[in-house]
Symmetry: D3
Subunit: 64 residues, 6 copies
């Protein structure tokens, strides 16, 4: 209420997630008017071999 789901490449540190959770919560509260206590954030790390753009896995080398 709200629930904010952040899918991103794996590799961010817990310090980055900690700072991100604080900053994104504040950004939401400032602009949409909820109480901080109501804001849930869920991080979902995704391997580069599980994400594709333009039909190519991010973990694969770019074609020259």
């Amino acid at each position: 209420m709200p629930v904010i789901r952040i899918e991103m490449f794996e590799g961010r540190t817990i310090e980055q997630k900690r700072a991100c959770a604080a900053a994104v919560t504040q950004a939401f509260v400032d602009t949409c008017g909820a109480s901080p206590q109501s804001v849930h954030i869920v991080f979902q790390d995704v391997a580069k071999s599980d994400w594709a753009v333009a039909g190519r896995l991010i973990s694969d080398p770019k074609p020259e």
Copy 2:
């Protein structure tokens, strides 16, 4: 048809998930009128370091 997705803190045992799947499916069937065979449930375990409330990771100590 339906798909029920359950995001929760990691740590539940497979026995708990087994019982939960049976009970939630029954609850849905009883109240919404689908056949049990059509009900899919997907569990998604989330680490406490990947979930934040009020801008604070659940894995971090509460401020005094």
Copy 3:
């Protein structure tokens, strides 16, 4: 904490959703040991023209 997301065909009444929310929450609490207050349920109605099985939209007639 947890968040339970229920995707289903549109057409259920609010009475069905009300009963479902109560029953699914109870089922989760009984089997996984959370407090009722922590359980969030989000319903997502899906039109039959937005759901396909075996490559066929549910809204389309079955081939004979």
Copy 4:
């Protein structure tokens, strides 16, 4: 890359979403180090009759 999904109660104006998208993107970029161009945000409005806490639809009156 990342994809940020924000589920919230319906009713926010487009001005609030516009400000929220800008602020949340900046918060992510500042703390997690992606380029702004890579940040996707998707808003999902949820009716209060489609969200339940403690087994009760948010649209229903609280018990006294």
Copy 5:
């Protein structure tokens, strides 16, 4: 088993969704080896005012 969720801008016709469901199901079956009957696809139309890239709603004019 699998469930494939396609979030895209609103505006595709039902003919496009019908063709897409058939083609994506076939693509999955050919490459990942499931039976067609097991493949579920769910379309989720998103308004351009609910999608932002680089902190700007897609429905807003690009800055010059």
Copy 6:
């Protein structure tokens, strides 16, 4: 733009995911008219002990 999320049982190889990403992207582009560069695909492997049908975990033996 679009984002296609594929939840499936774990066990597919990276070669299968690579082929699947290419084929599903092409299928979407052919039928819905987006540029390949705009198509994101995210794979989510699910353990058979985290997926239930008819209230039974897929990892459990079928009742006789």
